[in-house]
Amino acid sequence: MFGYTFQWAQAFSRLPKMLDGALVTMEVAVLSMVIGIALAIALTLMRLSGSRALRGIAAAWVELARNTPALFQIYMAHFGVASFGIHFSPFVSLLIGITFNNAGYLAENFRGALKAIPDTQTRAGRSLGMTGMQAFRHIVLPQMLRISFLPMTNQMVWAVLMTSLGVTVGMNSDLYGVTQDLNALTFRTFELFAIAAVIFYVITKFITLGARLMAARLFRY
């Protein structure tokens, strides 16, 4: 029934290259999560702060990140800001785009998580002589991260999937970029992208599994 001859062997011979690409994909995803979480915490604090300006900046960030496509954000990070003479390499542009997106979504999650932590926790910390910052850092934050753990896992999966958008800003070392380059050489579109899909699937499964193991270790209470 197929009017197409599959040439899997030819596609499989490129597997090592694709696995190298998968490493770059992971690198971008992990970095974007680490920085994204840090930024999201900062955004959360800004949204709680007394300063109108800080609250406004944080709110604008969160709304922009959540209400425009990730592809748009990445494209903007590369071609948009270049209008100001600021140039980022494709890697950095992609990283900025995904991180911006991660931080926005996570900040919204953190806000929800904070609601679930009673005020009395902060009060208890403050009455032991902790500063507001200490109480946040040692008492609120760990609980917030626990409540947000599942959404963070999902975000991590999305970060991995979003790396595929790097090609639009000239990225060709990540898994999608490598696959596309190989496709240009050989035109074995179906086989190559099917292999890439499987690699992506395996990566996301590793992440969810890893997250589960990590949660079991981290959150024993």
């Binding site: 197409y4 590369h78 071609f79 270049a82 209008s83 003479g85 140039h87 390499s89 494709p90 090609v167 639009t168 800003v169 000239g170 990225m171 060709n172 970029g177 596309q180 380059d181 496709n183 240009a184 050489l185 050989t186 035109f187 074995r188 579109t189």
Partner: protein
């Protein structure tokens, strides 16, 4: 066969790349224009059918054909052997020389000056594949493939990349357009002439045969030279490869 199908359906659907001036681009009202567009219209006229231009980015040309979304590719496609394993090519209908275009600020004066710089080209094209190989051979500098020719020149004029290799026609057209201040064509790239061909399904011999004759007729009737003058200008490049048949 397909040739009959096209004639009886009354429409010829051509895959054309529309961010590849002067071969294909968009006019004032965002309508398709360019050498390839006219070429497709001529082909349709010769078949006595209506032409339909289907915009396809470079990486999507072959899938568009394979998926039956287009009948013929008139899309500046290099006729490599690797690709001929998948699709059927006509004889060349156009030939490109490769030119180096650089951002004036980068101080690049020739192909070899590109060594050590960040350079780019359109992903999936003949020149991109060749240039990436060259950058690897130099062992210095960075290569960036962009999704479209437009993104390459945008990046070049923004200074995100210092130079690009593209077909000389594209380079001239873009520099002349005035859309990209601060870039100029600085020389030729020492790549082989890039012969591009029409393509269709590998097993459609009747149609391929027709395409071959059509290309030949375009040259014989002077239409090829006419279109060349209209869209590119200057010396008309020969479409025959010296010292071999076809």
């Amino acid at each position: 066969d397909k040739l009959d199908d096209i004639i009886s359906s009354g429409t010829l659907r051509c895959a054309v790349v529309l961010d590849f001036p002067p071969m294909g681009s968009r006019g004032q009202n965002n309508e398709p224009v360019g050498f390839d567009v006219d070429y497709c219209n001529d082909l349709a006229a010769s078949l006595g059918v209506k032409a339909e231009i289907v915009e396809t980015p470079f990486p999507e040309r072959i899938p568009a054909l394979m998926s039956g979304r287009v009948d013929v590719g008139v899309a500046s496609t290099s006729d490599t052997l690797e690709r001929a394993k998948t699709v059927g090519f006509s004889i060349p209908y156009f030939a490109f020389d490769m030119a180096v275009t650089a951002n004036d600020a980068a101080g690049i004066k020739s192909f070899d000056d590109m060594k050590g710089h960040t350079v780019g080209a359109t992903a999936g094209t003949y020149e991109a594949i060749a240039l990436e190989k060259q950058v690897q051979a130099w062992g210095d500098g960075t290569f960036r493939p962009y999704q479209t020719q437009a993104d390459v020149f945008l990046a070049l004029s923004q200074g995100q990349i210092d130079a690009t290799v593209s077909t000389s026609t594209v380079a001239m057209a873009n520099v002349k357009s005035g859309n990209f201040p601060g870039i100029s064509v600085v020389g030729k790239a020492p790549f082989n002439t890039d012969y591009v061909a029409l393509f269709t399904n590998r097993n459609e011999y009747g149609l391929i045969n027709y395409l071959n004759l059509f290309v030949s007729q375009q040259v014989r009737t002077g239409r090829y030279a006419e279109l060349y003058e209209k869209w590119v200008g200057g010396d008309v490049p020969p479409l025959t490869v010296p010292n071999v048949y076809r």
